[in-house]
């Protein structure tokens, strides 16, 4: 900025994707500089749209207009798996993934924690053993508190045991080895793995299969979905993981958000063929609009 009240609209030399529309103004003697990055406008629009639609459909859901969700078998079977573990007198294992809550897979971990609450509630009700294994230290206090409060809410506060939630290791394969050891020693009957997983996913799935556990897994990591599909009995693919909390709780908040997601996805589905046709005809206005 060479002077106050100057307005520049040109592509930044260092990064051509950034339109330098920075504007500086002197307000009461204080210099105020404000600019948007090119991708930021699209990001802000999408986030505001999802937020608005989420609140809109949340209000509708609160008035009783609950959106219908298709049956997700992997979620329905969690209660059955817990029941089976109760009959066999063997514990349920839950893993909220090996991702943390401060990186790009945080939404998967948050979704997994919501499902953990549901599973802990079930194990509290059925008096089934529960083992929650944690890889990321930052997730450990959250997981511990989630399980403890679930037991309190189920009226089984005295059944909660601090040993239920175990931090294994923050090393990926040390975690996998530790969990495989738990499967073999404690003969788990149900293995529920939800969240962000990587290469250890198949190790855990096979270890669970070897002890005869019924296995339900869910992840949004593309590379691990095939591992879970072949290694587990039921798999939640991608967005089904995020819908899990809404599906099981029927909470209007979450259901409204799921409806908002579906609207956005519908818009994307409609835009794709339109974009293909326009691009084939060498008409670029849509591409320019979406990449501004």
């Amino acid at each position: 900025m060479s002077s106050a009240n100057e307005q520049n609209f040109h592509r930044s030399k260092s990064n051509p994707n950034v339109i330098d529309n920075s504007r500086s103004n002197q307000i009461g003697g204080i210099l105020v500089t404000f600019s948007f990055s090119a991708q930021g406008i699209n990001t802000l629009f999408i986030v505001l749209l999802i937020g608005y639609l989420g609140v809109f459909f949340y209000n509708k859901a609160r008035k009783g207009e609950l959106p219908k969700m298709r049956r997700i078998v992997g979620l329905d079977v969690i209660a059955e798996a817990t029941g089976r573990a109760t009959e066999l007198g063997r514990p349920v294992h839950f893993s909220p993934g090996i991702g943390g809550i401060t990186n790009d897979v945080a939404p998967q971990t948050m979704a997994a924690l919501a499902l953990m609450s549901y599973v802990a509630n079930l194990t509290a009700k059925y008096d089934t053993g529960l083992v929650v294994t944690i890889r990321q230290g930052v997730v450990f206090p959250l997981a511990e508190e989630t399980v403890r409060v679930s037991y309190v809410n189920a009226g089984k506060a005295d059944a909660y045991n601090q040993n239920m939630v175990r931090f294994i290791s923050d090393q990926q394969f040390a975690y996998a080895a530790g969990v495989m050891g738990i499967f073999a020693r404690e003969k788990i009957a149900a293995n529920i793995m939800m969240g962000a997983f990587w290469a250890e996913s198949l190790l855990l799935a096979e270890a669970g299969s070897q002890v005869g556990a019924i296995q339900v897994a869910g992840t949004a990591n593309m590379t691990e979905i095939p591992n879970f599909v072949v290694g587990c009995d039921y798999t939640l693919i991608g967005e089904e993981l995020y819908a899990g909390g809404a599906y099981l709780s029927q909470d209007p908040n979450r259901l409204g958000s799921i409806r908002a997601q579906d609207i956005i996805k519908l818009a994307v589905v409609i835009l794709i063929p339109i974009g293909v046709i326009l691009a084939t005809a060498n008409i670029t206005f849509l591409k320019t609009l979406l990449t501004y």
Partner: protein, 214 residues
């Protein structure tokens, strides 16, 4: 208060960090990006304390197992090994940072010759586990399972030299399967997962997602 304070902190920090990623805002000495990076630093500090709590929990669990030696004598060996190695690496790591500002040679030696090979060994088991998982999964029990079996067979034949010897078009067919239907399906899942992640993040920031707070 127990729920409101964390929700308020989540809202404030979430909005600031998000906005710093999409815009630049400077008002006098206030710079949104600086505030955002400071808050991210605080997050790192909180994560470190949480990791300490997790490590302490691990120590307590294994100390209790050692105390219950009569109940399960064999478990004591594993618990002792864990506690001794954990303590040793912690001492070496802290000593190195305090004295030299970098890891001690012994720390590096143990890390490179014990921890890394052990992790690599566990990783190597994947090869055998993929085989056993494939043996169980690739069976023509239903239409979908048959499609999975045929696709896997075509991909495998396309990737190995013997496949090309059997029919010269196997590699091209495998490439087409990977690049067209597989890529299309992956992109569809990716779009759904990305929108789901945004929605979950927006719900968490606005306080609608409270599964972790109960």
């Amino acid at each position: 208060m127990k729920r409101q304070v964390p929700l308020l902190i989540t809202l404030l920090v979430g909005v600031i960090v998000f906005l710093s990623g999409v815009m630049t805002l400077k008002i006098g000495f206030f710079d949104l990006k600086t505030v955002s990076s400071t808050m991210t630093g605080w997050g790192t500090l909180v994560s470190a304390f949480a990791a300490f709590i997790a490590a302490m929990s691990l120590v307590l669990v294994h100390v209790k197992r050692i105390q219950a030696v009569k109940k399960n004598p064999m478990a004591v060996i594993n618990s002792l090994a864990l506690l001794i190695s954990m303590g040793l690496m912690a001492v070496l790591g802290i000593a190195g940072q305090l004295t030299q500002g970098r890891p001690l040679p012994l720390f590096v030696l143990i890390f490179n010759n014990v921890i890394n090979p052990a992790g690599a060994a566990i990783f190597a088991m994947l090869g055998f586990f993929i085989t056993s998982a494939s043996y169980r999964a690739f069976r023509a029990r239903s239409l979908e399972a048959t499609i999975l079996l045929v696709s896997a067979l075509l991909i495998m034949l396309g990737r190995i030299p013997v496949g090309e010897q059997l029919w010269s078009q196997f590699p091209a067919l495998a490439d087409w399967l990977s690049n067209v239907p597989n890529a299309a399906a992956q992109r569809g899942i990716l779009i759904g997962a990305a929108v789901g992640a945004i929605a979950t993040s927006v719900r968490t920031i606005l306080g609608f997602e409270r599964g972790h707070l109960n």
